[in-house]
């Protein structure tokens, strides 16, 4: 099953090595433990995109995070992504909350030494 069938749209952090291996192939074939930060609606995605959060991460990590794309943020670039996310400022409370949760998720991924996956 493709990752987009289960987790679109949102940000994923594998909890263990099994989940990390599964997600890195962009296909899910068995039950796995993940931490999922969903983006429930197109409207919220629009607000988050307009805040520039993903664009900053793209710029800092050399990625192409975008809608209708699945992108792996490797563990080695997570510190750069955290710094980029912390620079993001938004007046919208939902976007601010999402940014904080994204930063928390990235911190946990850094500690557990796993990649992070953007399924947008």
């Amino acid at each position: 099953m493709q990752m987009s069938q289960l987790f679109r749209r949102g940000i994923l952090r594998p909890v263990d090595d099994t989940a990390a291996n599964e997600l890195s192939s962009f296909h899910i074939t068995q039950p796995i433990l993940v931490e999922w930060l969903p983006i429930p609606s197109d409207g919220q995605f629009q607000l988050i995109w307009d805040s520039g959060l993903f664009q900053r991460i793209n710029e800092a990590c050399g990625l192409a995070i975008s809608d209708f794309e699945e992108v792996e943020l490797p563990w080695s670039r997570i510190r750069d992504a955290i710094q980029a996310a912390q620079l993001s400022r938004s007046q919208d409370p939902h976007v601010r909350a999402f940014t904080v949760m994204t930063t928390t998720l990235l911190e946990r991924a850094w500690q557990s030494e796993h990649s992070v996956f953007f399924v947008l």
């Binding site: 493709q2 987009s4 890195s24 520039g52 975008s66 209708f68």
Partner: protein
């Protein structure tokens, strides 16, 4: 003479002595009696003890004999019981061992028999399977050979017919183009004049353009945008109170770029047709032997970049992206709000041409026709819109299937939602199937999971470079 008192005293003394004598006698008699009695008691006691001892000895001996006899009996009984138990246990154990041995032997025989039957069955099944496979493979191979041969014949026939039809059509087109060309050029010149006058009028009315626009080679009745629509659109946008002058200028630049992009598209389409006509003419002239100085060729429509830097300064890539996106999406630009346009302005910070170049250099995606994909998957009645990231979606209203076009990246994907309107879904290949391409393996042609091949394969099989753009770039 003695006194009376002395006599009395003497009498008393004598009486006392007599009394003492009597007392002594009595005491001796008592002592004798007591002594005699004690001896008798002692003798009786001794006799009794002797009797008791004898009796006890007799009784003890008797009891000892009885105990010894009882103990012997008990030991014998216990010994006998133990012997019985051992024998009984031995008997049971022997019976168990015999039964177990018999059961084991039986089971071994049964299993051996069953395994033999099974092996025979498996062997038979293998033989049948091998025969079936061989037969099926033979049938398949024969059918495939037949189908390939048939297909080759059909294609040859169709190709011949097609070539005949095309040759006929091309000849007719060449004949038809010559008189039509003159009429068309006259009509175009007239239309350009009318369009130029109208646009100049709008420019004057708006008073913000600060100069004239020279529009060339554009039909007045352009199907995508008309001067009236342009004026109406700018009027509506200019009523947005919170927009800055720079934003208005940016929008005006986008508005100018869009018809310019559409003009380019029109010109490219026209040139494509004219190239085709001229090629046919080449072939025809060569065939009929027309002298070179008498050959007629249709001139190409020039590309005029009249919108560049009209209102705001632009880089080459921004201008190119704006023109292409504008021309491509002009039909839906009007209803877009300021926020959506603001998000598009964010996009202008990305070098669109650079992104396409980077993708071409680093991705091994196949190229495919986006027009074919839209026609095949989104259909003729598709709904289209622009996402926050600048991607254009063409959605089939019946199936919900979407063709997602990223003009900046120069590629597209095909997305089938789990249900109409759902954000979750599957990315498909050009045939509309979930991606599991056939691969040559040491065991023949198979459909392995992409995950077992290469992680990049997944991206490769669900992304397609836009063939039309690549063709244009060559």
């Amino acid at each position: 003479m003695e006194p009376a008192c002395c006599a009395a005293a003497a009498a008393q003394a004598a009486a006392a002595a007599a009394a003492i004598g009597e007392l002594a006698d009595a005491s001796r008699a008592w002592q004798n009696a007591v002594g005699s009695a004690f001896v008798g008691w002692a003798m009786a006691q001794a006799q009794a003890g002797a009797d008791f001892g004898i009796a006890g000895a007799i009784a003890g001996a008797t009891a000892g004999k009885a105990g010894a006899a009882a103990g012997t009996i008990y030991s014998a009984a216990v010994s006998k019981a133990a012997g019985d138990l051992t024998r009984a246990l031995n008997a049971v154990q022997t019976g168990f061992v015999d039964a177990a041995t018999a059961a084991s032997v039986k089971a071994t025989k049964t299993i051996a028999a069953a395994e033999t039957v099974e092996r025979k069955a498996v062997a038979k099944a293998d033989v049948v399977l091998a025969q079936d496979l061989q037969s099926a493979w033979g049938t398949y191979a024969a059918a495939e050979r037949s189908a390939v041969t048939l297909n080759a014949r059909e294609r040859a026939t169709i190709g011949a017919d097609y070539k005949k039809e095309v040759a006929g059509a091309e000849l007719a087109a060449v004949k038809a183009v010559a008189p039509a060309r003159k009429t068309s050029m006259v009509a175009t010149a007239e239309a350009n004049g009318v369009y130029h006058v109208k646009v100049t009028g709008i420019v004057a009315d708006l008073g913000i353009l600060g100069g004239e626009i020279k529009v060339e080679q554009v039909k007045a009745s352009h199907s995508l945008i008309s001067p009236a629509t342009l004026k109406k659109w700018l009027d509506v946008l200019s009523t947005c109170g919170d927009m800055t002058v720079a934003a208005v200028k940016g929008l005006a630049q986008g508005a100018a770029n869009s018809p310019n992009g559409a003009q380019d598209s029109f010109a490219h389409t026209g040139n494509l047709f004219l190239t085709y006509v001229n090629t046919v003419a080449d072939v025809t002239d060569a065939f009929v032997g027309t002298p070179k100085d008498q050959r007629i060729r249709v001139p190409m429509i020039p590309l005029v970049d009249w919108s560049r830097g009209r209102f705001v300064a632009e880089t080459d890539s921004d201008h190119g992206t704006s023109k292409t996106a504008g021309g491509f999406g002009l039909g839906v630009l009007g209803p877009m709000g300021y926020a959506r346009l603001a998000s598009l302005r964010n996009l202008s910070t990305v070098d669109g041409a650079g992104l396409l170049a980077k993708n071409l250099a680093t991705r091994a995606w196949p190229a495919a026709s986006v027009e074919t994909a839209i026609a095949r998957h989104a259909g003729n009645n598709c709904t289209t819109w622009l996402t926050a990231t600048g991607k254009r979606i063409f959605e089939n209203p019946q199936t919900g299937r979407q063709v997602v076009v990223d003009l900046q990246g120069g590629y597209f994907r095909i997305f089938q939602p789990n249900a109409v309107g759902s954000s979750k879904g599957t990315y498909l290949n050009m045939l509309g199937r979930e991606v599991r391409p056939a691969r040559h393996t040491p065991n023949g042609i198979q459909n392995p999971l992409l995950r077992d091949l290469d992680k990049g394969m997944w991206q490769q099989e669900t992304h397609f470079f836009i063939e039309e753009i690549l063709r244009k770039a060559r």
